[in-house]
Symmetry: C2
Subunit: 253 residues, 2 copies
């Protein structure tokens, strides 16, 4: 289990991997939205998302991916496959990945049973499926449709519906150990990467402590570039930004 709520240490790198589960993403029927949201949230709190994998509703594929990711990164976040239908196999697959039994969690059964009773709805076998989780898992609250996600080891298992995923993630964020937040600056450049590649590489060499990325954009038949600088130190970042801005100005002159 990861430590929780510990103080962030300035030099510490906290990493994450994400696993998106669902045939509907791989068939192109549904555009994936959770990984991008997760990426932005983690970056904002100084957690370094290193890898995303998308696999189908396939037990062997889920097991292999979650085992690879959980061994490698501080945290893993999964999205999808924890609903009530026959193709929702994430809870069982995660339990198998950990070598744990998967069963109806008594607390989750109570929570869901009360929820449906309050609404005069039948607590069907399908709905009971949503109470299944690996033995020893802790709940992740779901304020929208109640069925909880869960945390087992360093793996946070969350829903695929974006509104529910986001609400669950909001509940998880305060429990995470966070790393050093990198500051960033962005410089828009009216030239394509072919023009700025060499001078930009020279600036990168001069600022090894600043990560400089260039992102090509293509609008209406013209290439331009967004240059993004990231670093931990305000002063050095400002110096590198000034060097990039001066380089862009000199090319425009």
């Amino acid at each position: 289990m990861p430590e929780k709520n510990s103080d962030p240490t300035e030099s510490e790198v906290v990493t994450a991997g994400a696993l998106v589960i669902g045939d509907e993403i791989l068939s192109g029927r549904i555009r994936e939205k959770n990984a991008g949201h997760l990426a932005a949230v983690l970056t904002a709190i100084g957690i370094d998302l290193r890898e995303v994998r998308i696999v189908g509703d396939d037990e062997a594929a889920i097991i292999e991916a979650v085992n690879a990711l959980r061994a490698r990164y501080t945290y893993v976040f999964t999205s999808g496959g924890i609903g009530p239908t026959h193709d929702d196999i994430t809870a069982d697959a995660i339990a198998k990945a950990f070598g744990l039994p998967c069963d109806h969690d008594p607390q989750a059964l109570k929570l869901l049973g009360d929820y449906y009773a309050d609404r005069g709805l039948e607590f069907t076998e399908a709905r009971k499926r949503m109470a299944r989780m690996p033995e020893g898992a802790a709940h992740i609250d779901n304020p929208i449709s109640r069925a909880p996600g869960f945390l087992i080891g360093n793996v946070h298992v969350m829903a695929g519906v974006p509104a529910v995923f986001q609400a669950m993630l909001d509940n998880v964020v305060p429990t995470l150990r966070t790393g050093r937040v990198l500051l960033s600056r962005s410089v828009d450049c009216p030239f394509g990467e072919g023009v700025i590649g060499e001078p930009l590489a020279k600036i990168q060499d001069a600022f090894p402590d600043i990560a400089i990325g260039s992102y090509p954009k293509y609008d209406a038949g013209r290439f331009w570039t967004e240059i993004v600088l990231r670093g931990a130190e305000e002063r050095r970042l400002g110096e590198a930004e000034a060097a990039v801005a001066a380089m862009v100005s000199s090319l425009a002159a």
Copy 2:
């Protein structure tokens, strides 16, 4: 090397993996668009996209991912990291993954040299980087900004800018061995998955040759469900669709 332009065999399953490369995706700065486009295109031609991985501009991560994917699937498609700047390391990483030297391709140098000369632009060292590819790679034409992608083994290496990725993919599609195209039907259901989970599982049991998926939707405080059926045989698909539609109607009654 995969066979190309061979006749599709009805029963053959052709698979694919995708590798998206770029720090800007993992930091949440840029929303990933190419995997979704690729998924839709491959599904339409009967190629089964089984897995997507997103990694940063990191040589070891690219090598590991491409080697895992190329061993496992008929085809691999990569996106990103083949531009002219210092953080574009895909060509070198792919060459290392294959144990091949990576150098300026003479044909690509000629192509790019002519392109920039025609435009009165300098053929900078940075621009020459875009001619680098593993020894023995075949070009993938780029009608937009000329710098080619490449095919090495079963790996198609393409640009990250969506307009260029899509144009390259258009050029690649006619060269691919395609599989059996699955037909699909979709039934909108006004109930959440908790209501339909059990009857839907029964229909799935009765139609083992049809893949039935249910995709929860959440709009304005209400859950509803899109039920998608996929199969190779028109008649069986129609029967399964009728069974699902009858189930939904009986719940609404």
